[in-house]
Symmetry: C2
Subunit: 274 residues, 2 copies
C-alpha cells in the first residue's frame, strides 16, 4: 500500500466531520475519503447486527477507493462494528472509543467519569470496558441522549430548547460528582458550549476527535504509511442529500467541500442475505 | 386475488401504526401485514430518489406476502413514491396525503389551512397540489417540524420540552389565521394533545388516518376485495429492533403484537444499482 494513498473516514452522517477536521489539523499531509451515511442516519438507535451490516458495506466502498487505513468516526459504529471489521480487512482500522477512553482516564482526578452518547453506544458499555482496562478503579456513568443528534441536524446549536434537553439528560450524571465528561458521539462537539454551560467549569469535556487523530498518526508511522507529500484533494461521499451535506460541512471544515457525491451504498452489500 | 388476502401497510417506523389502528377499527375483518422500516427511520429528511428506492423494496416484500392492497401509511413516502408505485404494481395502492387533503378541504371555513409534516412532505408541496384540485380557493401554509418524530420516538409525548418545540414550529402558522391544521405525518397524532393545546379550540386538527381507512374500505368494495370473513392474525415486520417496536406498538394498538419479525429489507432490492 502506497503511503500517498488516502485515509477512509466514515460516520452515520455529518458528525464524523469533527474527526476529519482534527485529522486535517494534526496530519495535514493526509488525504481523506469521507463517507457519511446520510440515507440511514441516525445509527444510535439501531441494533448491533444492522450497524455491522452497514459498516461492512461502507468499508467495501472505502476499499474500492484504495484507502490505506480506515477511521470509524462514529461512536456507535466503533462500539458495535470495530472488532468485526478489524478481523475482516488487512489495513489498519481505528475507532473513536478507545482514544476517547484513554483521554478520559488521563483527565479524571476523582475517578468519576460521565459518558454521553447514543443509546447504542451507552447500552454497549464499551467505554466501561476500555476504561476498566486502562484505569481499573474509575467509576463510569453513562447516559444516552437520543435527541442531541436530531437537534444538531436541525442546527439548533446554541438554543434554549437544546439547553433544556441537555439539562434533563445531564442533571442525573451531575449527581455522581463527575469531574470528566466524554462527548461520546461525534455530533456532540458541535453543542459543546451548551453542554459546557450546564456542567460548569469543574467538569472537563473530553472530545475523542483530537485523540483519534493523534492515534491515527501513530498507527500510520508504526506501519510506515505516513504521507510524505502534500495532501491531494479530499473527497466526500454520502448516501443521500449531497447538497445539504455540503452546506453543513462548510460550517465545520476549514476547507471548501467540492462536490460531495451521492452513491448507492446498498450496492456494496456482499450478498443479498448477509 | 382472494378477498381473504391481507392488506399491506408500511411506514418508516412506528407512526404508521396510527393508520393500522384506524383500519382495525373501521374494517375489522381485514388482516394486516405491517412493515416498519425501523433501520432506516426517519424518512422525512431524505431525498425523493432514496424514498422511492426504499418504498420499492418494501412493496416487493409486502407482495411476497400476497397482499391484496397496499397502504402507504407514511406522508413522506406517499408524497414521494405513491405515483411511481401505482404504475408498477397491479393491486390497489393508496397513500395518506390525498385522504388528508380531502378532509382538510371539507373542514376549513375560512380557507386558511396549515400543514405540519416532515421536510420531505412539506417541501414536496403535495398537500398544496391535492388541495388546489379539490378546493381551488384555499390558502395552504406548510411548516416542516423535523424534531417531532425524534421526540415521539423518545416517548416525550406530554412534555414541556415538546410543548416548547411545538410552539416554535407552530407559532408562525398561527399568524396566518388558520382554522384547520393537518397532522401531515403519521407520528403526529401521538402528540395531538400537545399540538391541540397550542393551536387552541378554534383550530380543527385533521388526522389523515381516519379518512385513509375509510378510503381503503371504499377501494376494497369497489374492487370486490372486501373480506367477508373474520380477520386472521395481524403480522408485523421491521427492519431493525423488533423488541423495541413491540413495546411501542403495545401503547398504540388495541391488540397484542405477537412476535414482530426482523427482516433484511435490502435483500428486496431489484438490482444492485437501481
Amino acid at each position: 500500500m502506497a503511503s500517498s494513498a488516502p485515509i477512509g473516514v466514515f460516520d452515520s452522517g455529518v458528525g464524523g466531520l469533527t474527526v476529519a477536521r482534527e485529522i486535517m489539523r494534526q496530519i495535514p499531509n493526509e488525504t481523506i475519503v469521507y463517507f457519511g451515511d446520510t440515507a440511514r442516519v441516525p445509527y444510535g438507535s439501531k441494533s448491533k447486527k444492522t450497524i455491522i451490516n452497514y459498516s461492512r458495506q461502507i468499508v467495501r466502498f472505502l476499499q474500492s477507493n484504495d484507502v490505506k487505513a480506515i477511521v470509524i468516526a462514529c461512536n456507535t459504529a466503533s462500539a458495535f462494528a470495530l472488532e468485526t471489521i478489524i478481523t475482516e480487512v488487512s489495513i489498519p482500522v481505528i475507532g473513536v472509543v478507545k482514544p476517547g477512553a484513554k483521554v478520559a482516564a488521563e483527565t479524571t482526578k476523582n475517578g468519576n467519569i460521565g459518558i454521553i452518547g447514543t443509546e447504542g453506544t451507552i447500552n454497549s458499555g464499551i467505554y466501561n470496558t476500555y476504561l476498566s482496562k486502562t484505569k481499573p478503579n474509575v467509576r463510569v456513568y453513562g447516559k444516552a441522549c437520543p435527541l442531541f443528534v436530531p437537534l444538531v441536524e436541525e442546527g439548533w446549536l446554541d438554543d434554549p430548547i437544546t439547553v433544556e434537553v441537555a439539562k434533563r439528560y445531564i442533571s442525573e450524571l451531575m449527581t455522581y460528582d463527575i469531574d470528566t465528561l466524554v462527548l461520546g458521539c461525534t455530533h456532540y462537539p458541535l453543542i459543546r458550549h451548551t453542554i459546557g454551560s450546564i456542567v460548569g467549569e469543574k467538569v472537563t469535556l473530553v472530545n475523542p476527535a483530537f485523540e483519534t487523530a493523534r492515534s491515527l498518526r501513530e498507527v500510520l508511522i508504526h506501519n510506515g504509511l505516513e504521507s510524505v507529500t502534500a495532501a491531494g484533494e479530499h473527497k466526500f461521499y454520502v448516501s443521500d442529500g449531497a447538497e445539504k451535506f455540503k452546506k453543513f460541512a462548510k460550517t465545520i471544515l476549514p476547507i471548501e467541500v467540492i462536490e460531495p457525491k451521492d452513491i448507492n451504498i446498498e450496492s456494496f452489500a456482499d450478498t443479498l442475505f448477509n
